[in-house]
């Protein structure tokens, strides 16, 4: 029996397929735990985890916090608004001060790509990346792949389409790495301005016609348009003309799905912009596993915390 090949979870790129399989089989056990009458196990009762969120988050933060509490860890929560970060403290100083309080693991979300890698090199604690800028969001990719495995039996050989703002999406990048490692085929779809050049070098297909792409796939993962990461902010769109045009060309709704004429599993990492990238009817429909993704998120994060905390 072997454990994970890594000491930190910084990105899916660093993992082996066997690591991902181990996380999934461990998550199966935790999924059973979180459906018990008492949804708590004492596995990490001697572990303290700090959740450092330098960027807004609802789902990921709550999901990690719940996973830690279900494992009986002691939890410290930190968000950069209202903290000394605003007074000019550096990241390493902030984290080392928190670690001086005897913290074993750090879960961090940060707006800068590479922040988690930087932290792992500079502090003595296990680091879990909960999203670093446009780089990676490994636990999201793990829970997405886990949800596909749960719904379709396996990930291998499945055709997965990722639609939307690939350029600014850490979810897309982590998903591509994760799905490829598990043997799935991946296609990206979106306006050409939102698809990075040379992305094909990761072994993915690119298609700009949503209908064609949908006809190809078994599973579609709809991404949110990240207005906050575009230069013009909410009011101005530098990379596509208007939200309305985006919705017309790349929005997922019942009419488009009817034209595809086959069952497709619908996923979304949240938060959903209803009526922009996906219509309410589709998001709440029978083929949607959006809420299963949220439930699985807790089990998968429990597995990651458990497997990393247990490493000597």
């Amino acid at each position: 029996m072997s454990g994970l090949s890594v000491d930190h979870l910084l990105g899916i790129k660093d993992l082996k397929a066997s690591d991902i399989e181990l996380i999934f089989s461990t998550a199966d056990g935790f999924k059973e735990v979180i459906n018990r009458p008492i949804r708590k196990v004492p596995s990490l009762r001697d572990t303290t985890v700090a959740n450092l969120f330098f960027e807004n988050s609802t789902r990921t933060k709550l999901s990690f916090e719940l996973a830690e509490k279900r494992l009986s860890a002691d939890v410290l929560n930190f968000s950069s608004s209202g903290s000394s970060v605003k007074k000019g403290e550096t990241l390493v100083d902030t984290v080392n001060n928190i670690l001086a309080m005897k913290v074993d693991m750090v879960v961090m979300r940060h707006p800068d790509p590479g922040a988690a890698v930087f932290l792992a090199r500079n502090v003595k604690a296990k680091v879990i990346n909960a999203g670093d800028g446009t780089h990676e969001h490994p636990t999201q990719a793990l829970l997405d792949a886990y949800s596909i495995r749960e719904r379709l039996g396996s990930v291998k050989g499945k055709k997965v389409l990722i639609v939307g703002d690939i350029m600014h999406s850490r979810v897309a990048l982590s998903n591509i790495h994760c799905l490829k490692k598990l043997g799935a085929q991946v296609m990206l779809c979106g306006p050409t301005t939102l698809i990075p050049k040379h992305i094909e070098s990761l072994g993915v297909k690119v298609e700009t016609d949503l209908l064609k792409a949908l006809k190809w796939c078994d599973v579609v993962n709809m991404l949110r348009i990240q207005l906050e990461r575009q230069k013009g902010g909410q009011e101005q769109f530098n990379l596509f003309p208007s939200l309305r045009e985006y919705t017309m060309l790349f929005g997922l709704n019942k009419e488009v799905l009817d034209r595809v004429g086959k069952e497709i599993v619908i996923m979304h990492p949240g938060p959903i912009n209803r009526g922009v990238e996906i219509s309410s009817e589709v998001a709440d429909g029978a083929n949607s596993i959006i809420l299963d993704q949220v439930e699985n998120g807790v089990a998968v994060r429990m597995a990651v915390l458990y497997l990393l905390a247990g490493r000597q």
Binding site: S2, P42, S43, T47, G310
Partner: protein, 182 residues
Amino acid sequence: MNPVTILNSTEFELTINRLCYQLIEDHDDLSNAALIGLQPRGIYLLARIEKVLKKILGHDDILTGHLDITFHRDDIRRHDVPPSPSSTDLDFDLEGKNVVLVDDVLFTGRTTRAGLEALLHFGRPDKVQLMCMIDRRFSRHLPIQPDYIGRWVDTIASERVEVRWKEIDGQDKVILYSDKEK
């Protein structure tokens, strides 16, 4: 010292039969009992006990389940890699039941401790008892004693006892290994 056979397949079968009759002495027709095997290897003793009980009692009405204790262990951070879980399969209410926890070897008692804790997450049984195929006495770390014992064995900590099952290991046998060999 060569590996010592503690129970051969004939003795093995006799022991299983005796354990079944002891259960019936205490629990009548087992209508209010629940037999719960501890993962990973207690489930084989459970399966064997269940099979023999059905034959003796002439009915199939025996509540059984599997309990995985991995996440309740107290030594998770003492291993190089954290132990992998097996499945838990308990689809009945424990309220008011007389539970018998079933495991193959009782050694330090730590697995049983974790099993008790895991069990109580599923409800409040009336009574909990413990059955083991092999009791390595005098090596307990915790005040835990079995109610149904296949065979007592006196061992030192460096020795190892292995219960082999026909279903997975090809033969029914209990073997004692000294520290030098595997």
